[in-house]
Amino acid sequence: MRLALGGAVLGAAALAATPLGASASVGTGVGADPIVLTQTAQPGQSYALPALYLVNTGTETSRYAVHVARIEKGQQRAVPAAWIVVPAGPISLAPKAAADVPLTLDVPANAAPGDYMTDVVAATLTGATGSAGASLGTQAATQLRFSIGNAGSWLPWPPPGWVLMSLLAAVVVVGGVVGVRRSGLRFNVERRR
């Protein structure tokens, strides 16, 4: 018995001897800067992460899937894939087109505090059925880092911006009222006869 692992159209000798032309290619590109959640995450909370920059660097329209997998080594804790919510369906991009892929971090209530690291991976989807041979694919990975604080902390630190702004506004209002009262200024409304 013999098995076909290649197409019957091209001769084997020619296949082995002739480099393929570079007229077509598949490619995957992602933003090289790590994706970092700047605030400390809290157990039981969800956070919108900075988007993944995804670009089709090939010459063909490609479909991409995004997943989470630890590729790079490090001392940080591993991130269970279920914590990172990525788009469910494939992302189709024309050659040289780019997209910002939204990412969400869902921290379980029982998550241990500490520093976490994983990789966000974008990969081409290959249609491997019905043919014989090696299905070539590309993917690119960028690092994702965040920290989880202690559960039950009375105040997430640093506090969200709206909390800071509310406190500042309260201080300004109270200070203004006290200042006016101490200056002796009075607003008078009198009824004329």
Binding site: L3, T57, M165
Partner: protein, 234 residues
Amino acid sequence: MSDINRKAPLLRLPGFTVSISRGPAPSVSARGRRRLMPALRGAALVAGALAATGVTAYANPTPDPNGTTIPTQVTISPPVKSVSVSLPNNETILPYGSCSGGTSTANALGFPNATCSTAQYTVHNSGNVAEQIDVAGSVAQPSDGSTNQWALCDPTGSPCAGTNGLPGANQYENIDQGSTTSTFLQTSLQQDFAVTSSTLAPGQSTTEALVINGPQSTTDQSTTFVMTVVYTAV
């Protein structure tokens, strides 16, 4: 008494007069001052903490002293890690040929332990930063969709079970050959040693080809198999 203290009318409405006046500042008794000072100190502390935590980042930008602000926009090219692989005839399936050994013909793998290879293709750093290229293989999936796949084996990670270290029944090796060095593919990512340097510079390419060492025997009777090879920019 100054003007402002004479209750100058500020606004006249039908039947009403609105004015502002300034009287003597209310005297604060020593007891009242003692009650007020802790509150003022607390407010000062909160304001200081807010300043220390960077609230000023929310402030509006300083107005243009010339009176006109012209919005400008600049398009930046973010640093991108990327890998691209050339394709034969726009097909993502790279056929094997040049088969030899066992019962092989030119384009068909024979048994036991025959060898086939693909044409050369290029792996290209299509990003704008230097990067390491990792590569991984997969099981060989028969076209009939059965579960009788060929497992990927290699000399180190998942040793082959055949004689003399060759693939056994339902096993195969897939070798990523570069110009001077090669990588036995594993199902998990590993550095592509077919790339002669540890990293590829932006725009740099390497020429590679795949060589397969087939199984000693196969359970599945499919006549075509497909396997996946994925290159990763790390």
